[in-house]
Symmetry: C2
C-alpha cells in the first residue's frame, strides 16, 4: 500500500469511528458497537472507502495489545483477594456454563461431532467467545446506582475480573489445540510453563519497576518501557509457548497493576488507544465482516447465540450465587451484572478468525450480543434495585 | 511481514530508542540524535535486529505527520505579529543564506551544473536541508538563562518560527520541481493555490473548532478530529497540489494553534508521539542509513556541511540583525540562537530521500549537524550572555 494512501484511510477511519461511536452512545449502545458499524459502512460491505490491508492489520494488532495491556493494568489485586472465594466460584460457573452452552448451540446448528474434529473445535470456540464478561458497563451502572461499594457490587466486580482471567486461560488452551503440533498434554504444559514464567519474571519486573517508580514518579519512561514489555511478552507468549499474544499483553498489565503509577500508565495508554489504535482496531473488525456473506442460518444462529449468551450467564452465575447464600433477587442481580459482553468477546472472536477457528460471518452474532447485553444490563439492574424493599437499600 | 514479528520489532525499537535517547541527553546531545543512533545500531548497519519494512515506513509516516502537526500547533501567531518585521527579515536571510551556501557547497564537491539538471536539484536540496532552524533547543537555553522574555529572546524565537514556515515553503517548491510534470509556473501556482485554499478553509475550520471547543472544552473529540484533519490535509496537499504532505500537517496545526485548547491537543499528540510513533520515526531514519555505504568523500562533505550549516546561519542572521540596529554582541547572539537544527532538518532530508533527491548516505551529514549545533548553541549563548556588562543584564 502507498504510504500516502495510509493517511487518507486513517482520516476516514478516525472520523467515521468517532461519529458512529457518538451516535451509538446517543442510542444508549456502547461506543465500540458504533465503531464496528463504522468499519462495516466504510469497508467492502458498503462504501468501499477503506480496504483491509496488511498495514491496517498491523495497526489493529498494536491496538488490541494496548487494549489488553490496559485491561490488565486496571486489575485491582487487593479487591480480588477480599471478595475472593465467592467471586471465584461465581466466576468459574460464569465461564463454564456459557462455554458448554455455546458449544452445544453450535453443535445443535451444525451437527454433533467427535472430540478432536474440526467442527468440535469450532463449536468450542463459539463457547469460548461467550466466556468473558465485560465489567465496564456493569461497573458504570452500579456506580450510577450508588451500589458499587456494597458487598454485592464488589462480588460482581471481582467475579467479572476473575472471569476475564479464566476466559483468557480457556482461550489460550483452545487456541493451543489448533496448532499443528497440538497434543493436549503439550498444550497444557506449555500454558502452565508460560504462567509459571510469568509469575517468576513478573515478580522481578514488578520489583524493578516499583524501585524505579519510587525514585522517579510520573516519569515518561514507565509507560514507555511498560508498553515495550507488553509487546515483548506478547511476542514471547505466542512464539515460544503457543499462548495467545493478547494473554501476554494482559499478563504484562497485571504485573504492573499494583504499581503506584499504574493509573498514570493506564492514562497514557488510553490516549494512545482512543486517538488512533482503538478506532483502527474496532473499525477493522467491521472491515473484515462482509455482510454480503450472511445467510439465514447465520442470522438465526446469531439470535440463538444472543439468547444463549445472556441466559447462560444469568442462570450460571445466578444459581451459584443463590447456592452461596444470596437471596433470590440478589442472586438475580449477580446474574444480570455478569451478562454484559464487550471488547474482550470481540478480541477473542478476532483471535479465532486469525487462528482459522471462526468464520468472519459470526462477528455479526458477537456484535449483536454486545449491543443487546450492553443495553439490557443497565435496564435490568436498575429495575431489580428499584424493587428492593427500602430498608434493604444500600445493603448487599 | 508477520503481524507477530511487528510486536518484536516495536519492543526492540522502543527500548533501544529510549535507552540511547537518555544516553544522548546525559552527554548533552539532543535525544533525537540518540534515537537515530539506536536505529543505526539495531538496523542493517550493525546488529540487524530490525529491518526496514513497509509497515515501519507507514508507522514512520504517521509519526512525522504527528510531529509536524504538533510543530504547527505550537506556533504562537500573536507573538509572531509583535516582533514581526525584524524577525521576518532575519528569518529570510536566515533561510536564503544557508540555501545558497548549501547549494554551492554541493556543487563545489560534485561539480557545477546548469539549472534544471539532476545535479542542480540535488545541490539545491542540500541547501534546503540547511534552511530550517530548530527553535526548541534555543528556547530551552534562553529560558534557562532567563532571557526568553526580553526583546532579543522574542526576536530570536519569532525568527526561528518564521524561518520554519519559509523553509517549508522552499521545500514545497523544491520538491514540486522534481515531479514528472514539473514546470516552474505550474509548481508555484499549485503551491499558491494550496496556501490560498488553506487560508480560506483554515478560517472556516478554525471557526467551527472554536465554536465547538467553547461549547465542550477539553473534550477528546477535539484532538481526535484534529489529527484526522491533519491526515486529510496532508493527503490532499500531496495528492492534489503536489505540496509535501508534511506541509499539510503543519498547516493543520497552524489552523488550530490559536484555539483555547491548542495546548490540550498538543499534549495528547505528544503522548501519542513519544510512546510509539516518535521512536519508530527517528529509529527508521537510522535503519535507512547504512553506514557501510559511507566513503571518504561523504565524510569530508559532512564536515564541510556542518561548518557551512553553522556559519551561514550565524553570518546571515547576525549581519542582518546588526544592520537592523542590534549591537555587535547582541547580533551575534541572534546568529548563534538561529543556528540549531533539529527534527525539521531530518524531516526535510527524509522527504528528499523519498523524492529521490538525496542519497541515504547524506543522513550522516544531517545527523552530525544536529548533534554539533545542539551542543554548541547552548554553550555559545551562555558564554555570550556571560560577557554582557552587568547593567545590561536582563535587557535586550
Amino acid at each position: 500500500m502507498d504510504t500516502l494512501d495510509i493517511l487518507r484511510q486513517l482520516a476516514i477511519i478516525i472520523v467515521a469511528a468517532k461519529f458512529f461511536g457518538l451516535l451509538a452512545r446517543k442510542c444508549k449502545a456502547p461506543q465500540v458497537a458504533g465503531e464496528i458499524i463504522a468499519g462495516l459502512l466504510i469497508g467492502p460491505s458498503l462504501f468501499n472507502l477503506v480496504e483491509p490491508s496488511d498495514f491496517l492489520a498491523g495497526m489493529a494488532e498494536i491496538g488490541v495489545i494496548i487494549l489488553m495491556f490496559t485491561a490488565g493494568l486496571e486489575t485491582n489485586i487487593s479487591d480480588l483477594k477480599k471478595t475472593g472465594v465467592k467471586a471465584t466460584i461465581i466466576a468459574c460457573t460464569g465461564v463454564f456454563t456459557p462455554l458448554l452452552c455455546g458449544t452445544l448451540l453450535y453443535m445443535a446448528f451444525y451437527g454433533f461431532s467427535a472430540i478432536g474434529t474440526e467442527t468440535f473445535y469450532r463449536a468450542i470456540f463459539i463457547g469460548t467467545i461467550l466466556t468473558a464478561t465485560s465489567v465496564s458497563i456493569t461497573v458504570q451502572t452500579l456506580r450510577e446506582l450508588g451500589k458499587l461499594q456494597g458487598e454485592l457490587g464488589q462480588t460482581i466486580m471481582s467475579a467479572a475480573i476473575i472471569d476475564d482471567v479464566i476466559g483468557i486461560i480457556v482461550l489460550t488452551v483452545v487456541i493451543g489445540f489448533k496448532k499443528p503440533d497440538a497434543d493436549v498434554t503439550g498444550v497444557l504444559l506449555r500454558t502452565l510453563a508460560f504462567f509459571a514464567l510469568a509469575i517468576v519474571l513478573g515478580i522481578i519486573i514488578y520489583k524493578v519497576f516499583k524501585w524505579y517508580d519510587n525514585k522517579h514518579p510520573h516519569t515518561r519512561r514507565i509507560p514507555i518501557i511498560g508498553i515495550a514489555m507488553a509487546f515483548a511478552l506478547s511476542y514471547v507468549a505466542d512464539k515460544y509457548f503457543g499462548v495467545a499474544d493478547i494473554t501476554g499483553a494482559y499478563v504484562a498489565g497485571v504485573i504492573l497493576c499494583s504499581l503506584q503509577d499504574s493509573e498514570y500508565i493506564t492514562q497514557k495508554m488510553d490516549i494512545n488507544s482512543y486517538i488512533i489504535f482503538g478506532p483502527v482496531f474496532f473499525c477493522s473488525i467491521g472491515l473484515q465482516t462482509n455482510v454480503r456473506t450472511l445467510d439465514m442460518t447465520i442470522l438465526w444462529f446469531s439470535l440463538a447465540f444472543v439468547a444463549v449468551g445472556l441466559l447462560s450467564k444469568v442462570v450460571g452465575c445466578g444459581l451459584t450465587a443463590r447456592v452461596l447464600g444470596y437471596k433470590g433477587h440478589n442472586a438475580l442481580k449477580v446474574g444480570c451484572g455478569m451478562m454484559t459482553r464487550g471488547e474482550v468477546a470481540l478480541i477473542v472472536a478476532q483471535r479465532g478468525l486469525k487462528a482459522d477457528m471462526l468464520e468472519p460471518a459470526y462477528f455479526t452474532a458477537v456484535i449483536l450480543l454486545i449491543i443487546v447485553s450492553s443495553i439490557l444490563t443497565p435496564l435490568l439492574l436498575k429495575a431489580l434495585y428499584a424493587k428492593d424493599p427500602p430498608e434493604e437499600a444500600g445493603q448487599a
